[in-house]
């Protein structure tokens, strides 16, 4: 069975510092990987996705993620965070032709001034 693990439930960081949000997945077949962001009381917004090709994926708001097949990881990074990046971040994997996504439990990014 496929699963997604987000290793940190909360990540506090100071403004302008770099950040990495960790995501590991488990799957015996090829996967598509996604990162979504959720601001308070809103729906989820797609940050970036990996379908195939280059393992380094760039997304919106200066975020990027690297797909590492040997480590089954898809960590999200940003070199310098802003207060406005404070939100919940979800990693997800799509493994079937139904389009269903399996989500991690989420990581709360708290950017402090």
């Amino acid at each position: 069975a496929q699963s997604v693990t987000q290793l940190d439930s909360q990540v506090p960081v100071f403004e302008e510092a770099p950040v990495e949000l960790r995501c590991n997945y488990s799957s015996s077949v090829s996967v598509y990987l996604f990162w979504y962001v959720q601001y308070p009381n809103q729906g989820l917004q797609l940050l970036l996705k990996y379908l195939s090709g280059s393992t380094l994926v760039k997304g919106i708001n200066g975020f990027e993620a690297e797909f590492n097949k040997s480590q089954t990881s898809f960590h999200l990074r940003k070199p310098s965070v802003h207060i406005s990046d404070t939100a919940e971040y979800f990693c997800a994997v799509s493994v079937s032709n139904t389009g269903k996504l399996i989500f991690g439990q989420g990581t709360t990014l708290q950017v402090k001034p």
């Binding site: 729906g43 979800f90 799509s94 389009g99």
Partner: protein, 113 residues
């Protein structure tokens, strides 16, 4: 461009009352549609998905049901709400090809008292 609507935005209902949440998608045809629930401080749980009119797959046995009376309309219902039904309900759509990006609506906050 495609847009997804959910209403109501917020709902407070007594235990035992019925529920109807609506989701509509504009700007696309034959989408896959999904209902998720997000309990406070937790990840997303897929409740139902649909690949066509009248075709509903349930992921978790529970007090809720879903219907798809039209191609771009997805309804989440309950005959009698439970306290445990409280949460944030999100609708999403994706193209029919499978393993594609899901796009989320703004969500409905449901509080059952």
């Amino acid at each position: 461009s495609q847009t997804i609507h959910q209403w109501p935005a917020t709902l407070v209902q007594p235990v035992g009352s019925p529920l109807s949440l609506e989701c509509t998608v504009e700007g696309t045809s034959n989408p896959n549609l999904y209902w998720y629930r997000q309990a406070a401080g937790r990840g997303l749980q897929l409740l139902f998905y649909s690949v066509g009119i009248g075709q509903i797959s349930s992921e978790v046995p529970q007090n809720l049901s879903a219907s798809r009376p039209q191609d771009r309309q997805f309804i989440l219902s309950s005959k009698k709400l439970l306290l445990s039904d409280s949460g944030f309900y999100l609708c999403a759509w994706s193209v029919r090809r499978g393993r594609e990006t899901q796009y989320f609506g703004p969500g409905t906050r449901l509080l059952v008292l």
